[in-house]
């Protein structure tokens, strides 16, 4: 579905370029390795587990794909998720005496998460586009702010959802339809919509144009600032959605919630073939990036070949390799 956006100068006609094949081959390779090392790897339980854990980062990474494609960056998403989780828990606990356990209070919590996410994203976007501060600096700042706020809200400890509420809310993470859990379903929906918007809708085209050359975009009747602002708001919204899925899993939030999520999300986007400096992005690639990162973690946990403590090192090597492969493909093109 993306053959038209790949590098144009490959001499062969049939084979897609390395930048398309690379991530897919890496994923297939990991699946084969996993299956060979542990017979349980391809079992339904393990696959569900991997996908459900991927869902949080994955949902955020889809939003990150748009931000990066439009030439931006957001380092604050991990802290933002922790802050939103904390806020959600506080609001739901506070509303418990008046509303009681039930669907309405869960909906209230979800609403809080979504609204808080959009507002946080808009704030980042406003500072970056209207005020004109670099994305790296703005989101480095907001990363610190949200992390500190959640620590303060939890008074240095952990914010826990009321036990009754937690029991009621749990199915949002653990149940699903036809054996597919909710986080996976939501992740799949976000991916499908994201891919369509990126490759088929005007907004996706505007993001790529903005990231590729904002002057050209401006002269071509693309509202550059609005496009960028929307990407940050969209990312904030998706952080809210991911948090909604995340809170029922543990029922708590603390200063260590969502640590390094921003880097995992950015890594997934880059492994998937989106260009860090903007101008070209693909959502399906990001999904593959997320799965690659999760599978490495999963395989290390299932086998005792390599210490799971080396997870980060292996992920780091993969990220660097991915960028080298992309550059090779580009040099040829």
């Amino acid at each position: 579905m993306t053959s038209e956006t790949t590098n144009s100068k490959q001499s062969g006609r049939a084979l897609p370029s390395m930048s398309v094949l690379g991530p897919i081959l890496a994923l297939v390779l990991l699946v084969v390795i996993g299956a060979l090392l542990n017979p349980n790897f391809l079992g339904a339980a393990n696959i569900t587990n991997v996908l459900a854990r991927s869902a949080f980062i994955g949902i955020i990474a889809v939003g990150m794909t748009f931000v990066i494609t439009a030439g931006g960056l957001d380092l604050s998403v991990g802290s933002m998720a922790a802050f939103i989780a904390g806020l959600m828990i506080l609001v739901m606990n506070a509303a418990l005496p008046s509303m009681g356990v039930g669907v309405p209070i869960i909906l209230l919590g979800m609403l809080v998460a979504i609204v808080a996410g959009i507002l946080a994203g808009l704030l980042n976007g406003f500072l970056i586009t209207t005020v004109g501060i670099e994305a790296f600096i703005v989101t480095l700042g907001s990363m610190g702010i949200y992390r500190s706020l959640v620590t303060w809200l939890a008074d240095g400890g952990t914010l826990s959802l009321d036990f009754g509420l937690r029991t009621f809310y749990r199915p949002v993470y653990f149940d699903g339809i036809l054996g597919i859990s909710w986080p996976i379903i939501v992740f799949a929906l976000v991916v499908i919509i994201g891919e369509i918007v990126m490759s088929r809708a005007r907004f996706g085209r505007h993001c790529a144009a903005t990231g590729s050359n904002e002057h050209v975009a401006h002269y071509s009747n693309v509202n550059v600032n609005r496009t960028r602002l929307i990407t940050y708001a969209l990312l904030g919204l998706l952080v809210g959605v991911a948090t909604i899925m995340y809170v029922p899993r543990l029922g708590s939030a603390s200063s260590s919630t969502g640590v390094l999520w921003e880097l995992e999300a950015i890594a997934a986007v880059i492994i998937g073939g989106t260009v860090l400096k903007g101008g070209f992005g693909r959502v399906w690639g990001t999904v593959i990036g997320v799965l690659i990162l999760s599978l490495i973690d999963n395989i290390l946990n299932l086998t005792d070949l390599v210490s799971p403590y080396l997870n980060g090192a292996i992920q780091g090597v993969i990220i660097i390799l991915a960028v080298i492969l992309q550059r090779e493909a580009k040099a040829k093109g």
């Binding site: 100068k9 085209r205 401006h218 002269y219 009747n221």
Partner: protein
């Protein structure tokens, strides 16, 4: 070329170059001699750039010989070319934008005194190089703050500092005013006296006639004519480049320029660039805007189209008051601007033709989702209508020749179906054959009832195309000429702000 008496400093013999299966150079012979200025001319896409890159060691040839002082060499890198004393000055400058002029000139060859940089000596030398090219830029100014012409001069100062034996310049005068081009030519002559071999390309044949000793004409990847500059006239050069007679460069004017008002603006102010711009534009006419670079022409037009902040007392399109604050307002009124800078503001160089073509008019190609087959159809049509020649349909736009990029840009702008089209330097840096096509297209558009504003630095182009010409000077319209009054002399006087009897200005400009 056979009767070589003195050994050439740098020579190509039967050079061929292929990209993939496509051969783009078919056996090029060219010899650069010490103390000679060599002009390489040809249409865009004729293979001039590739030839220059092979000469400078940027790209290896597929076959053939490169001779340096008569000995065969191979340059494996740009660095080896520079070692051999070959310096290439690019059209897109090779300067580190954030570094100062001085740092750029000595980049990679910083002078040292012991362990530390010898700033005083570098400063002194930088001053002397800048003085030689009459560039007033301060050595401490970051290059990003310089104008294009100053950047060009810094590039030349850099070449001077390297005592280059061979200097290769890719369209050095494209971004220069006539006066700056004059200074450049003085330097070229001085370098020639000093025994440097110089190669340059230009689309301005008068320059070639003025300064070159030798001329090599290329067409479609081959040398079609090589002779002494004194043996070839400008007309013959043009004919050799295009392969056909191009004396009818400008299409015929329509007899009756329309009287149907398309656009009327009064008191247009673009803060910092233009004040009190007022004019009327009629359907069916081509309205020229002349003026020196920096006279506010471009900024005034951008302000008119909502591309930069501007205020106006009154503005009417087709007799209706309109308010234009952002580009989409202008487009909604059928007012469209074609930028002078196709590479930085016009086209996404990393992207394909289809996405570039439809970017400005995306709503036309589907409301919720983009209809790719409609886009493909539009591209087919554009390739046909504008004679865009791309090797492959999915080629990156950055790999197209300048002329084809310009045609694509024009096609892109036309996707918005403008009623009033403003074209800014529509033929900058493109070959004569493509120019002719663009002129014919603009005239046809006007004849169909569109109103066209043409901003240009090339006076011949304005004289040949425009029904009326407004001349801008320091942000204001200094005067408007029409019909027989549009002459180079009259334009220069208005642009320089001199009276009817003062002839001094023309010399200075020309």
């Amino acid at each position: 070329m056979g009767e070589t008496v003195t050994t050439a400093t740098l020579e190509l013999r039967d050079i061929r170059k292929s990209f993939g299966p496509i051969e783009v150079l078919h056996g090029i012979d060219i010899a650069l001699r010490s103390g000679e200025v060599h002009a390489l001319i040809g249409e865009n896409g004729a293979g001039k750039s590739t030839t220059m890159k092979i000469l400078a060691g940027y790209q290896p040839a597929t076959s053939g010989q490169i001779l340096l002082d008569g000995k065969e060499v191979t340059f494996n890198s740009l660095h080896e070319g520079e070692e051999a004393g070959i310096v290439m000055i690019h059209q897109e400058f090779n300067l580190a934008e954030q570094l100062t002029v001085e740092q750029n000139i000595f980049l990679g060859r910083e002078l040292r005194k012991g362990w530390l940089l010898d700033k005083a000596e570098m400063r002194r030398l930088t001053r002397s190089y800048l003085d030689r090219v009459k560039c007033r830029a301060h050595p401490d100014t970051p290059v990003s703050k310089l104008s294009n012409s100053d950047k060009q001069m810094v590039e030349i100062a850099k070449a001077l500092s390297r005592d280059a034996r061979v200097v290769i310049m890719d369209e050095p005068t494209a971004v220069l005013t006539n006066r700056e081009a004059g200074i450049l030519f003085e330097q070229v002559r001085a370098m020639r006296e000093a025994g440097t071999a110089i190669l340059f390309t230009s689309h301005k044949l008068s320059e070639v006639a003025e300064i070159a000793d030798q001329v090599t004409v290329m067409r479609d990847g081959a040398v079609v004519r090589a002779c002494a500059a004194s043996d070839i006239t400008e007309d013959e050069m043009a004919t050799a480049m295009v392969g056909r007679d191009v004396s009818d460069l400008y299409p015929e004017h329509r007899k009756d320029a329309g009287s149907d008002l398309a656009l009327s603006v009064s008191g247009l102010d673009v803060p910092g660039f233009a004040q009190g711009i007022s004019f009327d534009l009629y359907r069916g006419e081509i309205f020229g805007i002349a003026g020196l670079i920096g006279s506010g022409r471009t900024e005034a037009m951008e302000g008119l189209c909502g591309l930069r902040p501007a205020t106006r007392d009154q503005m009417q399109i087709n007799g209706q008051d309109v308010s234009i604050r952002k580009p989409s307002d202008a487009l909604a009124q059928g007012l469209c601007y074609l930028t002078e800078d196709r590479k930085l503001r016009g086209l996404l160089l990393e992207r394909g033709m289809r996405e570039n073509l439809t970017l400005q008019a995306l709503p036309k190609f589907g409301t919720l989702l983009i209809d790719r087959s409609a886009e493909e159809k539009a591209l087919d049509q554009a390739i046909k209508d504008f004679d865009i020649r791309a090797g492959r349909r999915d080629v990156k736009v950055g790999n197209l020749s300048g002329g084809n990029q310009q045609k694509l840009l024009l096609a892109k702008v036309m996707q918005s179906e403008p009623k009033i089209l403003i074209v800014d330097e529509p033929t900058r840096g493109i070959d004569i054959g493509t120019k002719q096509q663009i002129y014919a297209f603009l005239r046809r558009l006007a004849d169909e009832g569109h109103a066209i504003i043409m901003v240009s630095s090339e006076m011949q182009e304005l004289i040949g195309m425009a029904d009326r010409v407004a001349v801008m000077r320091t942000g204001r319209i200094a005067g408007t000429l029409s019909g027989k009054d549009i002459t180079e002399d009259a334009i220069v006087r208005l642009a320089m702000g001199v009276g009817a009897t003062d002839y001094g200005a023309k010399k200075e400009l020309a």
